[in-house]
Every structure is written in structure tokens, then in C-alpha cells.
Subunit: 335 residues, 2 copies
């Protein structure tokens, strides 16, 4: 009896953080201090039905848990996924997946009886930053994920803002120019058509089309052009790459001034592959934001890089859904 | 002893709601259900020092309380004022007042020993709508005050959003057009230079300058032109007035789409003198907002008029600072 008690007392509570992407799904077990005790990856296989995916996820997650189960107690599951709705537990018409609408709570209920919470990828990163990253101690901040598109998560009064329908924080679809670039959402001039990996590629194309100056980037087809090529070219001093990154920062700063006017955040925190451009984007972004800020907000708002370890950032963020003290939506707590 | 107890039990808790304007200050005693038991008005006398104002406010408020004190117990004071900061208790460089920086907590502490809370005018209206008006039962909404300028208050997760510095909710100073109209804030193209009483007057001037068509409004100097004249002219079918109101609604809708993308509110609630234009502004606003909304937000967000009685709206709102369950800032609770 004594040994059982001792053993039990030494167990650490962990939550399972899962982030579902279009090609890969990452998952891992994270304790309340943000330490990831074990993590792994499986292919998502986007064309397969969702129930097969969750079956595979469970068997792989269970196998991984076997490696740490002696010292850990699993207390909840947090899931980040495209178009995941915190209130309903549904993933709704996710881009890059064939799933249409999936009830994640119900799928996970087949295998587990612990609390489950879900939200979209940018929101889980925002929670991860708040609990374990660059936003520790902050009660008001905006997280922006600069990947293929532009995702965002908003924290105000110390809480993630999901809005009336669970979909708040779509800053990537605020408008820069009503007559601007076509967006995959069907509208024109959305922020993410300028400020994102794809947006930066479009800017380089546009700049080159207006000039006769040479550039290595002219040998790459628009289809094959990537943010990494542009960032590498910028390091070599390529004019179009440098100008595109500066333009990106300027547009970002203009729209950040609008976001600050809404929310008065302590900081805007940037995550994602495109932040590799560093000062080439964020110096002009800061300058442009300050130039366009309403007077009372000037020189107050920090622009910061993510404080999460890149390898496990999205796992930490998803697990934070369990560790944060978010109000539990109906039906989520007793699966 | 019996009678004392009986008398005491019949007393109703009230909070004193005060709203300080550039010319007049209104105040009144409001119970927890939003019933205003007594209210009055004093001139603000903007050029006098703040301490004299608060002395006058106290003597007038005390005299008014004498008329109801037998049935009421005063439990707190809520103050709405320009540039009032919820966190610091300060009014900071208020427009239209000579006060520079005033510590409202300290001024009121001279006369009262009950809790005091302050915030700006748009925020108190937002709280008033949530507790007693059109937003009852809503946890996510935006309040927009269309007066001389455009003020706004944001409620998310059931709480007023003040941001990191206490100044969140300045939607009037988001940007419509970087090269647009000069704003009194020193920038260009702010939303309130288009969507506000003053903005509507500027639009009428602009429209008339491009046309030779006749209008009664041509006989009024730009200095003397008012929103009321324009709204009256619109009722008579004046082309410039009608076009200006439609243009105002269109611009409003475009920017509301951005606000919705941030916050996903259940409704946007409109307060202030300019809402008298009704459908002439709000029909095009709704149409324009829906046209520019990101897909997942379409046909979800209501545009609603204020649900507060106009005569005492700002008093109800200010008193709501005490009745709402906002987290108390340090130093506010035990004056």
C-alpha cells in the first residue's frame, strides 16, 4: 500500500496535444509546465474518412503513452485543427482535408473518457504563447501565424476570444484594398493575399513584372516560387526579394494599427515559417505600425517572435487547451 | 429596533451613474435592475479646474440623494468621461475640457468612501446595453456611438475589453483611406472622418462640390451645417443628403466587416444622435457589411439600435460600471 501511494504521488499529470495538418498530424504529452515528455508524427492521409484517422491517431497515441505511462496520468486532450470550433467541438469544412464536417468530441469519445477541447491552429499557438511562450504573464495580446496564409488568435482580459460563433480572430481576412488581389476566400484584397508566404511570392512576381532588372528569381516559375527562395535571395541582396519583404512589413504595419485600435494589446507575437525573414519584415512593420497608430497607442505595443520551441510549438499549444482555465463549453467536460 | 430593521430591509441598493460631457454632466441613481430613481444635470464648465467641478458634482448629487435617501443605499459610483481610463482611474487630456490629467478616484475620495470605477463614454454605453439594453444576454458584441465622432466599446466573453493600457475600442480611428480626410487626431482617413455627424457633413460638402444640382443645404455655411439639417433634408428627398447617408452606411459596413473578422460579435449595437437616420444609414451599412464579410461570418451578425432610454442612457451605462462584475482594478475597491 505504501509503495502504491508513493508511485502514484510521483505521477505527473499530462495532457495530449494534437495538431492536425493537411499532410501531417503531430501529437505529444505535455505537463502543466509546458514540458513535452514524448511526441510523434503520423501522416494525416487527407483523403481518408475522419473515423479512420481518429482510429490511427488513437492507436499511435496509445503506443506512445505506453512509453511514459508509469510516470504520467493523462487528464485531457487538446486538438488544434483547421476550422475547428471551440464551442461545438466540430471541424467544419477544413481546407486541405476531405472531411467536410467532423464531430471531434464524438470521434475521440470512442477511445477516451477524459475532457477534450478543440480550436483552430492559430488559437492554439496563442494559448501556447500565453502559458509557455512569449506571452507569459500577458493578459492582452494578438498572435499572428505567418505560414502559407495568415492566421491569428486574440487574447483579451487573459482569455482567448472565440466570439459569438467560435470563429473570432480572422485578421488574415480583413481588407487591405477592396480592389486588390483575389483571395482564395472569394473576396479581394484580404490581408493574407499580401502578408503570408503566398502573398510574398505574389509581391515578388508583381515587382518583377514592373521592372527589367535581373534576378535569380526570374528563373523560377510562379508555381515553384517559395518564401524560402525569396528569403534566401534577400540574404544575397536580391532587390525584388528585399523590396517584397519591406512591402509586406509595411502592409502588415498598416493593418496592425487597426487591430491595435480595436484591442490595445501589450504585444503582437509572430509565429510560423515566414518569420524567418526577421527584421527584413518586422522592422518596416514596426515603423509602419507606429506611423499609422492612433496617438494614444504609439510606442506601447511590442512586436515579438514566438517564444515556443519550433519542434513542439503546436503540440504545446494544443495541450494548453487543457491547461488554460478557459470556460468549458457545454458537453465537453464529461466525455 | 424592529422598525429600524424593517426600514433597513426595504432599502434598495443604488449606484450613482455620472457622465461628464464637454458642456453638461448628467448623473442619477440607478438600481440593479436599471431603474433610474432620480437624475439631474449640471453644467460642466469646461474651463474651470477639475477639483471645483467635483465639488459641485458632489453637492448636487448629495442634494439629489436627499430626495431618495430614505429608500436607497448608495453602494458605488460609476463615471463615464472622455479619455477615462478604467485601470488608472485617470482622465487623460480630455478633448473639450481644460483638465489635462485628473485622478478621478482621488477627487471622489474627498467626498465618498464607496467603490468608484471609471471608463470612457462609449464603454459605459456598452455596459449599459449589456445589463439593461439591446445586448442583454449577449456575451460578444460591439457598441458604436455615432455622435459628433465615432466611439466604440467592445464586449467579448461577457467582459468589457479595455486592453493592455485601458484604451481598447477605438474603432473610430481605424483607417478607411490612408490618403483620405484629415482627422482631428492628426492622421488621415480615420473611420470617424466619414462615419459620424461631422463626417456626414463633410460628405455632403464634398458631394455638392462635385455637382451643380440645387439643394437647400447649399444655403448653409459649412460651419453651421449639422447632421440634423442633413437628416431633415433627407426626409424631404434631398439628393445630397440621401447620397451622403448611403455613402456613410457603405463605408461603415466595409469597416464593420473588419471588426467582425477580429471579434465575431453576435451584434453591433448603435447609439447616439446620428442613428436618427435609421434605415437611410443602416440598410446600406448591413448590405455593405454582408458584401465584405469573410464567408463564415455572413448572415450571422445583427445590426441593432440601442435599447436604452435616451434620456438616461448614459446614466444607466455609467451606473452599470458598478453593477457589472468587471474585475476590480487595484486600488479601486476601498476608497
Amino acid at each position: 500500500m505504501f509503495f502504491w501511494q508513493k508511485d502514484n504521488l510521483m505521477q505527473v499529470d499530462v495532457s495530449l496535444g494534437v495538431t492536425i495538418g493537411g499532410t501531417h498530424t503531430v501529437f505529444g504529452y505535455v505537463d502543466q509546465k509546458g514540458k513535452c515528455l514524448a511526441h510523434s508524427t503520423i501522416p494525416t492521409i487527407a483523403h481518408q474518412p475522419a473515423d479512420l484517422f481518429f482510429e490511427r491517431l488513437h492507436s499511435n497515441a496509445a503506443a506512445l503513452f505506453d512509453t511514459i505511462h508509469e510516470k504520467c496520468k493523462l487528464i485531457g486532450i487538446g486538438v488544434g485543427a483547421p476550422n475547428a470550433n471551440y464551442y461545438t467541438g466540430m471541424i467544419e469544412n477544413p481546407p486541405n482535408l476531405s472531411w467536410e464536417n467532423v464531430n471531434v468530441w464524438a470521434e475521440i469519445r470512442k477511445y477516451y473518457t477524459i475532457p477534450v477541447a478543440i480550436t483552430n491552429e492559430a488559437n492554439v499557438i496563442a494559448l501556447g504563447e500565453m502559458l509557455f511562450g512569449a506571452a507569459q504573464g500577458m493578459k492582452n495580446f494578438i498572435e499572428i501565424t505567418l505560414g502559407t496564409g495568415l492566421g491569428s488568435g486574440i487574447v483579451a482580459n487573459g482569455e482567448l476570444i472565440c466570439g459569438a460563433d467560435g470563429n473570432a480572430g480572422e485578421i488574415g481576412h480583413t481588407t487591405v484594398d477592396l480592389q486588390g488581389r483575389e483571395c482564395s476566400c472569394g473576396r479581394r484584397g484580404c490581408l493574407e493575399t499580401y502578408v503570408s508566404a503566398k502573398g510574398i511570392c505574389r509581391t515578388v512576381q508583381d515587382l518583377m513584372s514592373h521592372s527589367t532588372e535581373g534576378s535569380d528569381l526570374r528563373s523560377v516559375s510562379p508555381e515553384n516560387l517559395t518564401f524560402k527562395m525569396i528569403n534566401d535571395a534577400a540574404q544575397r541582396g536580391d532587390r525584388f526579394a528585399l523590396e517584397a519583404l519591406e512591402y509586406t512589413g509595411t502592409i502588415l504595419g498598416i493593418k496592425l494599427a487597426d487591430s491595435v485600435a480595436h484591442l490595445s494589446p501589450e504585444a503582437v507575437i509572430f509565429f510560423g515559417s515566414s518569420i524567418a525573414a526577421g527584421d527584413l519584415i518586422f522592422k518596416p512593420a514596426k515603423q509602419s505600425m507606429e506611423e499609422h497608430l492612433f496617438g494614444m497607442f504609439k510606442n506601447k505595443v511590442k512586436l515579438l517572435p514566438s517564444g515556443l520551441s519550433e519542434e513542439v510549438a503546436s503540440i504545446l499549444g494544443s495541450s494548453a487547451l487543457i491547461w488554460s482555465d478557459m470556460k468549458t463549453p457545454a458537453g465537453i467536460s464529461t466525455l
